[in-house]
């Protein structure tokens, strides 16, 4: 069974204070690791897909990296508008596209 664990559960940062979110996973035949952003009461919004160890993707202040056991979402010089819950999900080799999600990390950026 695919499993995803995210840490920390919550992270409070000052504006401009860089940090990283962790996503540890176990999966049979990784077919993709996905990062989504979720605002309160809204649906997950796609950020990145990573497919193989060593891969990196970047978008504005966010950078996602992938190893064989975990992924990191690095946030550089965050702004208050980056405050949200960040979700990590994996698609395993035995599924027809089912995503298995972690609990998420609630990020709060104070001005």
């Amino acid at each position: 069974e695919d499993q995803v664990t995210q840490s920390p559960e919550a992270l409070r940062l000052q504006e401009g204070e860089s940090s990283s979110l962790n996503c540890s996973y176990t999966v049979s035949g990784l077919r993709g690791l996905f990062w989504y952003r979720q605002d309160p009461g809204k649906g997950p919004e796609f950020l990145f897909t990573l497919y193989s160890a060593g891969e990196e993707k970047e978008k504005e202040r966010l950078k996602a990296t992938l190893t064989k056991k975990e992924s990191f979402l690095h946030i550089t010089a965050p702004k208050p508008e980056d405050s949200a819950t960040y979700l990590c999900a994996v698609k395993g080799g035995t599924s027809y596209g089912k995503l298995t999600f972690g609990q998420g990390t609630i990020l709060t950026v104070h001005p």
């Binding site: 077919r31 993709g32 996905f34 989504y36 009461g41 809204k42 649906g43 997950p44 919004e45 796609f46 897909t49 497919y51 979700l87 999900a89 698609k91 599924s95 027809y96 596209g97 089912k98 995503l99 298995t100 999600f101 972690g102 609990q103 998420g104």
Partner: protein, 113 residues
């Protein structure tokens, strides 16, 4: 930019009643999904649908649940006899053929009283 839409945004129902949640996936997408998120918990997979049939379902998706693509644009989730524990946000998602990314709708908040 194309997006997944869902209606209604909030549905309140009495225990034992039937509800139908509606979704319009992104045009030209061929893979469709339903997920749910109980307040404060993980997003959980319910069912995937491709070529007019269920391709995978979770243990949550029991005989009380069904999905349908009644026409070329809508994708529905029916709960036949709602229970208190069905209260959650229900998200629809769609994916293009050959593409790996699922795009999610805004969700329907279901409240069972």
């Amino acid at each position: 930019e194309p997006e997944v839409t869902q209606t209604p945004s909030h549905q309140v129902t009495q225990m034992g009643q039937e509800v139908i949640l509606r979704c319009v996936p992104i045009s030209n997408h061929l893979y469709f999904y339903w997920y749910r998120q109980i307040l404060g918990q993980k997003v959980e997979f319910l069912v995937s649908f491709y070529n007019n049939e269920i391709s995978e379902k979770s243990e949550i998706f029991d005989d009380q649940f069904s999905v349908e693509r009644p026409d070329g644009s809508n994708f529905t989730l029916k709960i036949r006899s709602t229970k208190l524990e069905d209260s959650a946000m229900y998200f629809c998602a769609s994916m293009a053929q050959g593409g790996g990314v699922q795009f999610f709708g805004p969700g329907t908040r279901l409240t069972v009283l």
